[in-house]
């Protein structure tokens, strides 16, 4: 875990409202694991903004993030250019548990939940299957990146303006019935996560999901980022920044 000032080496856009930044932070990249996040200071803000790590390049010593413009913090961040410097704290949280025995892996992403899953596709030994859902063709992101590393990529849009029309859960239901996956990893809006968790549970497949909650410190000290989790001692408020953001789907209390 490091807090420092790091140079932006590449900045770009995925669509009109979705941006990406690659910054150089060799020590952070060395430590980083798929599914972890970074906490970024945005100009004039008291609280840092949590953004998932999308890709780790240990050789180059860089980390890439992909994010949507939501409010003032991300609006400021979207204006960053190559050569600018960012105050970043990371890597934070626990990543996705990845094991080499996970030969058949399914990743399921919805909207801005797609970026943290790219690293899993990078990692999966025999390539993974990916189901990526977006509102419409104007909100797509990282399709080409996934196509270059994943086995099968299924793109869904709510209105059918790109790929298949429908929700990711419909495609996921079909896939888990056809193929014996060893694990499912998902990130996206809560209703999607809930549905995917239920489908995986039906088939007895291990499922890991990445959660979001509003954060303060980002490191487990202030206890604001609570989420309810089943533990050996009963239901407890654990903390997304330190105990997560990735949780075992069967332990999450919705």
């Amino acid at each position: 875990m490091i807090q420092g000032i790091f140079p932006v080496v590449k900045a770009g856009t995925q669509n009109d409202n979705c941006f990406e930044i690659t910054f150089k932070a060799p020590d952070m990249a060395k430590e980083a694991k798929v599914g972890q996040f970074v906490h970024i200071l945005c100009d004039g803000k008291t609280l840092r903004r949590p953004i998932s790590i999308c890709r780790i390049d240990k050789a180059e010593g860089t980390l890439r993030i992909v994010f949507e413009k939501r409010g003032e913090g991300t609006a400021w961040l979207s204006k960053c250019k190559e050569g600018d410097e960012l105050d970043i704290l990371g890597p934070l949280g626990n990543g996705f548990p990845l094991c080499d025995t996970n030969k058949n892996v399914l990743v399921v992403g919805g909207g801005i939940g797609v970026p943290p899953l790219l690293g899993i596709a990078d990692f999966a030994a025999d390539g993974c299957d990916a189901v990526l859902g977006f509102r419409d063709r104007d909100h797509l992101c990282l399709i080409d990146d996934f196509k270059s590393v994943a086995g099968n990529v299924f793109v869904m849009t709510d209105d059918g303006s790109f790929g298949e029309k429908g929700f990711v859960t419909e495609r996921v239901r079909a896939l888990v019935s056809e193929k014996a996956y060893d694990a499912v990893y998902a990130c996206g809006p809560s209703p999607m996560l809930k549905a995917v968790s239920a489908l995986a549970a039906e088939k007895g497949i291990d499922c890991y999901i990445s959660l979001e909650e509003r954060m303060g410190c980002g490191i487990g000290a202030c206890l604001v980022c609570a989420c309810k989790i089943k533990t050996a001692d009963g239901e407890k408020y654990l903390h997304v920044c330190k105990d997560g953001p990735v949780f075992k789907a069967s332990e999450v209390i919705w």
Binding site: Q3, L41, T46, R48, E213, C217
Partner: protein, 304 residues
């Protein structure tokens, strides 16, 4: 080099910078950034008799130059703290302050008694947390309430006792005096100011608890005023906090009458804030020819 040491109720601090309760957990996470021995002290997360789960999320919202929080005293309980957190904290070579809270007077006294039997350095009585229904706010808002609870806890422990005052009161000099009369060794202030933020699109409060405690830069002028009033009302030491982000803020609070300081919210923005404030304060003392940090305490020259 100015002497940065301060002494409060017989306890020596290597410097006046303490991290504020609830923002620093039990220190472990922040020890990733620097040795905790660089700090004058650590005020731990508020602890209660039994484990508490706290309020449902969202528990935090950003507001102009500050934040609102409604954690609601999530903590593992005093027994767990004594067994699992305190032993490690006591190896960190800094002053360890246990911050305690409760629902009833008996709860406070039981927690204080349990801590009395440990090697914790000081106890800070949180009678001002605005988040827990009937969990302290009743004691903190009136001088009678402050006197009652302070008297009871004073009888339960020989540890140096700091009473942490709430700004949500009519007259801070009266509650400060009440704490002093009841045997407090020091007072600390300010705790958070009750606030609220509404999402104009959903028409819902952002915090699931509807209201929460305001902290950060926004509260600094309130803290400076209240520390000044409290310091003028009592003879016991005043520990100042509320909105400290830079060394200049620390100097202001000391001039107003604080002999030590706590830093909370600013740790979220920059984990190195306590070190930067400490070093900036030391340079200010050197640049202005002060031999010791105590030399600026209460030295504001108010207009007639």
């Amino acid at each position: 080099m100015a002497d940065m040491k301060v002494k409060i109720a017989g306890v020596e601090f290597s410097n006046p910078i303490i991290t504020a309760s609830g923002t620093y957990g039990f220190g472990k996470e922040y020890s990733n950034f620097f040795s905790l021995s660089e700090l004058g002290g650590i005020s731990c997360k508020g602890i209660t008799l039994e484990e508490r789960q706290g309020n449902p999320p969202p528990r935090i919202a950003e507001t102009p130059s500050g934040i609102l929080n409604s954690v609601g005293l999530q903590n593992p309980g005093v027994d767990y703290f004594i067994e699992h957190d305190l032993p490690w904290l006591k190896t960190q070579d800094t002053v360890i302050i246990a911050n305690i809270a409760g629902r009833t007077m008996e709860d406070y006294c039981t927690v204080a008694k349990k801590l009395d039997a440990t090697n914790v350095d000081m106890i800070e009585l949180n009678i001002s947390c605005p988040n827990v229904k009937a969990g302290g706010v009743a004691f903190g808002v009136t001088p009678q309430g402050v006197e009652e609870i302070t008297t009871a806890v004073r009888a339960a422990t020989k540890k140096p006792l700091i009473v942490k005052l709430t700004p949500n009161t009519a007259d801070i000099s009266q509650t400060a005096k009440a704490a002093e009369n009841a045997g407090a060794d020091a007072v600390s202030l300010i705790n958070t100011l009750t606030g609220m933020k509404i999402d104009i699109n959903t028409r819902r409060p952002v915090l699931r608890n509807n209201t929460g405690g305001l902290s950060g830069a926004a509260v600094l002028p309130v803290a400076v005023r209240m520390v000044w009033q409290a310091a003028n009302a009592v003879k016991i030491p005043v520990i100042g906090m509320g909105g400290i982000c830079r060394w200049q803020d620390a100097v202001e609070l000391m001039l107003a009458g604080a002999c030590a300081l706590q830093i909370g919210t600013a740790n979220f923005t920059d984990a190195y804030t306590p070190i930067k404030v400490r070093d900036g304060l030391e340079k200010y003392l050197d640049d202005n020819g002060y031999a010791s940090v105590g030399d600026i305490v209460g030295k504001v020259e108010v207009w007639e």
